[in-house]
């Protein structure tokens, strides 16, 4: 049985093959973890769809393949080739008037009858359907064909520098020929020897699959969304005091630490309810406004950035949000996020304050409408009631899609968030 990369989430078109968890020759039970798949949404383990012996690994670790690509071969006992039913025929075009000695095949003309020259037989039932004896080419992707090998050797071409356009990126004859053409056509290499061969004082670091995905998402965001940015100061003294007073008890009762994040989440979720454009998506000729409020929280892991999603954040209490945040951060640290944990986000929140930052300009998590950061809480002298008081201050920064909204809507959203956060005090209910 050929194992294909399954559809691992909505709107996902390709995946990166992570670590193979079985070796060629290993026996595999159905549902055994077979390979890690990394998509732009999540890393997951693909369970084997069948039992048998892993015969071939077609796609090596670190390669990107489209959904449906063949990635491995497992030989099972019931490996019968079930042929597909014939597909409907397609009416063929008429050849035109040019016939020549090559001849033409007449349409709607009865051929001879089975037992001789009898009159023309009806063509009504002349079904031309597909036979399915077509050979599927299922050779491995990195296969260097004889002609590619020969041309490369003859011309001293380093095949690792040739871009493959064949199936799964295989280097075809055309690829090597056009590479050769390109190099030959270059008039004279400028003697600036800053090529890969002579990296003076530099070295090359390979890019991890998740890094590649982050990179491509960032390019999408930066190139496709015209983003504007705004910053608002928030006095969070009330939250700081509240947290201080409940944190010991909270740990005892809930088994987790209470952080500032659930308070911010609560304020953001509520504000998204009333500022629905912030919870939308640009679709060229219309805007999709999401009824659900699913807030992604950017989390840093050893491998890179992941964005687990708190679904229906507006329905959870501060404690509920705290528990959800704890669960998701634990899962991302352990690499156990499931598809549903990272999909469906409608807005993203990033706590850049943990890095000590007091202002940052985040890139929107494409195709969302906005992203907010919460910055470090610092004690600052503030003017309160015409006097100077030491207050705990926090900046919130917002990048938003300027196609969807203008500063007015973004500003209204920020001030709603600010107002909710500043209204939190010792009496605020957290359950």
């Amino acid at each position: 049985m050929i194992i294909e990369l399954p559809q691992v989430g909505e709107s996902i078109s390709e995946g990166v093959i992570g670590k193979w968890l079985k070796n060629v020759g290993d026996s595999v039970e159905k549902f055994d973890p077979l390979v890690e798949i990394i998509t732009d949404k999540v890393a997951m383990e693909l369970p084997s769809p069948t039992s048998g012996i892993l015969k071939e690994i077609i796609v090596a670790e670190g390669e990107t393949v489209p959904i449906g690509a063949e990635i491995a071969k497992i030989e099972s006992e019931h490996d019968n080739d079930v042929s597909r039913p014939p597909e409907p025929s397609i009416e063929s075009k008429s050849v035109g008037t040019q016939i020549g000695t090559t001849g033409e095949i007449l349409k709607n003309t009865a051929p001879v009858g089975p037992t001789g020259s009898g009159g023309p037989i009806s063509t009504d039932d002349e079904v031309e359907t597909l036979s399915d004896s077509s050979e599927k080419l299922t050779k491995t992707n990195n296969y260097i064909s004889p002609v590619v090998a020969r041309v490369a050797e003859k011309n001293n071409i380093d095949l690792s520098k040739v871009v493959g356009t064949g199936r799964n990126g295989r280097i075809t004859k055309k690829d090597v020929q056009s590479h050769l053409g390109n190099t030959n056509n270059k008039p004279e290499q400028i003697p600036n020897k800053s090529n890969e061969e002579s990296l003076d004082g530099q070295y090359r670091q390979n890019i991890s699959p998740i890094r590649k995905i982050i990179a491509s998402n960032m390019v999408k965001s930066a190139t496709l969304i015209p983003q504007a940015w705004t910053l608002t100061e928030v006095d969070v003294t009330g939250i700081v005091n509240l947290r201080q007073s409940i944190k010991e008890n909270f740990l005892k009762q809930e088994g987790i630490n209470i952080t500032y994040l659930p308070f911010v989440l609560k304020a953001v979720a509520q504000s998204l309810k009333t500022n629905s454009l912030l919870n939308s998506s640009w679709q060229e000729d219309h805007i999709i406004i999401n009824r659900k409020i699913n807030i992604g929280i950017a989390a840093s892991t050893d491998d890179g950035l992941v964005v687990p999603v708190i679904r229906d954040a507006d329905t959870l209490s501060i404690t509920g949000l705290a528990q959800k945040v704890d669960e998701l951060t634990r899962k991302s640290r352990e690499g156990n996020l499931a598809i549903e944990d990272v999909t469906g986000g409608t807005f993203t929140l990033n706590n850049t304050g943990v890095l000590g930052s007091i202002a940052s300009q985040p890139l929107i998590n494409y195709p969302q409408a906005a992203i907010m950061t919460t910055e470090a809480i610092t004690k600052r002298p503030m003017v309160v009631n015409d006097g100077i008081a030491i207050r705990s201050m926090m900046n919130i920064c917002l990048s938003f899609d300027h196609r969807i909204m203008d500063g007015k809507e973004a500003g209204a959203f920020n001030s709603d968030v600010k107002q909710i956060l500043e209204s939190i005090n010792a009496g605020t209910q957290i359950y």
């Binding site: 007449l106 089975p114 050979e135």
Partner: protein, 327 residues
Amino acid sequence: MAIKTVLEAVREAMSEEMRLDDKVFVLGEDIGARGGVFLATEGFLEEFGESRVIDTPLAESSIAGIALGASMHGMRPIAEIEFGDFIWPTINQIVGEAARVRYGSEGKMWAPMVLRAPHGGGIRGGLYHSQSVEALFAHTPGLKVVTPSTPYDAKGLLKSAIRDDDPVVFLEHKRTYRLVRGEVPDEEYTIPIGKADVKKSGNDISVITYGLMVHHCLEAANDLINENIDVEVVDLRTVRPIDEELVLESAKKTGKILIVHEDNKVLGVGAEISAMISENVFEFLDAPISRLAGPEVPAMPFSPPMEAVYMISSEDIKKSIKELAEY
């Protein structure tokens, strides 16, 4: 040039050769008064008379045997087997005897006979009127096996077959008889046996085929121009001897080869082409040699939907070409 069908081209080739050479005669079941089951010899009895247009009993072994004997005595018989499916009783005469005459007699005797048979399916012929028989004969040294696809080729090749001094098995795809038409020159011409023909030139993929499938391959190739796949269609025309030079030349050019035949795949003509290419021009290959052929079942099914599944269509060919192009 006049536009003719394959059937008309076959009829013309025989009548012209019979007019040119008294030694040429035809024999077979129902070829006289009836004019042949497909009317390939219509009007022959009237023109050439009973001595040159011989109706035989329903006995294929005898038809082949009589032709062989006559040919060894200087005649140039054209024996018609009504259907390729009924050709098996001739095997001993053709494979066991005719193919060996020149070799066995150290060149003192030869057998300039033609064994003509309509073959191939797609005509609701079921088990007994649809078989492809070329691979069995093509295995035999001493025979030539011709499988034309167009009226032009059929006429030119049949004339060469009649003039050939050694036995030729001439297999006409019966579905092409009235289905395929094309230009046939009015003036005298022949086409050498053993020469393939590039029916469409291209650079990306070589499709090597013969008989009816040539037309389906051309259809597929022309459709794929829109998808920027430049397909070369090579019509073998003769499956023994195979035009090795042209096949290898095309394979070297494109590096990607699809072989298409209606006959089943295992040990078929495609296997020989494939081996020939990898033995000689392996270093030019850019993809595994691919074959699209009939399924491994004993015969053409009678049920129309099943027959449609058996027969290869231009859509099947397109699919295979695309797979190869993407490789």
